[in-house]
């Protein structure tokens, strides 16, 4: 089962996204803050995909990238944001997803990253 770390400080988004991913067969762990994500990444270095919101209450999702790359070199990082301006794909992460787009789009992105 593909393991996903979902990082989002918005409770409703986390709840719905997590439920949809689980229905699709993913094993989802949730982090509600930047600090919690760091703790999980330190303790459980086995995630295949990290889906992170960009604007977390205590930090930026994109700032998790160095730690993810160091601990999980093969993991794919998808940055999610409600701000369209923040959604430029860079070398720092592997894909981006604008919140509010179809969940099916996110699934397509995840599957394409898993194949690549």
């Amino acid at each position: 089962m593909t393991s996903v770390l979902l990082v989002d400080d918005d409770e409703s988004n986390r709840l719905t996204m997590s439920a949809l991913l689980e229905v699709e067969g993913f094993d989802v762990r949730e982090a509600t803050t930047f600090a919690e994500a760091c703790t999980l990444l330190s303790a459980t270095p086995s995630f295949t995909i990290v889906l992170t919101d960009q604007h977390l209450g205590d930090g930026l999702g994109s700032d998790l990238a160095p730690m993810i790359r160091a601990r999980l070199p093969g993991a794919k990082i998808v940055l999610m944001s409600g701000s369209a301006s923040a959604m430029t794909v860079t070398e720092t992460w592997d894909g981006s997803f604008a919140k509010g787009e179809d969940f099916a789009e996110l699934l397509r992105l995840i599957h394409s990253l898993l194949i690549s």
């Binding site: 409703s12 988004n13 719905t16 439920a19 229905v23 930090g59 604008a98 919140k99």
Partner: protein, 241 residues
């Protein structure tokens, strides 16, 4: 006040109005997108789990109502995606300029207490950047006013500006109470403030202006004796590709 000075003040005021409006609109768009995303995902989940159940097929309105939620959430998202133009408030005029002039202008027009209570020490070198000078002036002014507020209008603000490798960096340092390590990530968050009576938009406006011109604003290394230094960094135009 001369006609020229009045024109400059009017221009800066319109830039400030546009910046505040842009910031507020941006925060609203971001927060509403988050809410809509949760609504869409929840509706998608409910439909997916119930679509083939007896209850769903027995009442055709369940399907219709589910469609309404999806359709209206989509339409709301489209509305948010439409670019909010602020041309009626401010039209940008980007040019290659000496950033040092913006630093001087920002100090001159900053809304801060003046000597003897508050003194601004300036050490600025020339450097070319491609920006709208009114916007850069506003961004630097926001940093200076933020520093003055941190020191409650008393003390010395140090402003240094120089070219460094491929960037032009404006550093505004204050001798206020400082920023706790846990606060560093929050100071650029819109409406975040520890000061009563302040909106908490100044640093965010500065950061947005910097980002528009491929730069950034961040808490930087402090000069000796200072408690906080905020750096505004822009690409040096003479190093542009």
């Amino acid at each position: 006040m001369s006609d020229r000075a009045r024109t400059t003040v009017d221009s800066l005021r319109s830039v400030e109005l546009a910046a505040v409006a842009e910031e507020v609109a941006s925060v609203l768009r971001h927060d509403l997108r988050n809410k809509l995303a949760a609504i869409r995902n929840a509706a998608f989940y409910v439909r997916r789990r119930l679509a083939k159940t007896e209850a769903w097929t027995a009442d055709s309105r369940l399907d219709e109502m589910s469609d309404v939620i999806q359709k209206e959430a989509n339409a709301s998202n489209e509305l948010l995606n439409q670019t909010l133009t602020l041309k009626h408030l401010f039209a940008r005029a980007v040019a290659r300029i000496d950033a040092r002039e913006c630093v001087r202008q920002a100090i001159a027009c900053a809304r801060i207490p003046r000597e003897p209570a508050l003194r601004v020490e300036l050490d600025a070198h020339a450097g070319e950047v491609d920006v709208d000078p009114s916007e850069l002036t506003l961004a630097i002014r926001c940093l200076i006013e933020n520093a003055a507020e941190a020191m409650e209008g008393v003390g010395v603000i140090e402003v240094r500006a120089r070219s460094s490798e491929s960037h032009y960096i404006v550093e505004v340092a204050d001798h206020g109470p400082g920023i706790a390590a846990t606060e560093c990530a929050l100071v650029l968050k819109p409406f975040h403030t520890t000061k009563k009576g302040h909106a908490g938009l100044g640093l965010n406006i500065a950061a947005r202006v910097a980002q528009r011109y491929r730069g950034r604003v961040a808490v930087g290394d402090r000069p000796s004796g200072a408690s906080v230094a905020i750096h505004l960094q822009l690409p040096d135009a003479t190093h542009a590709l």
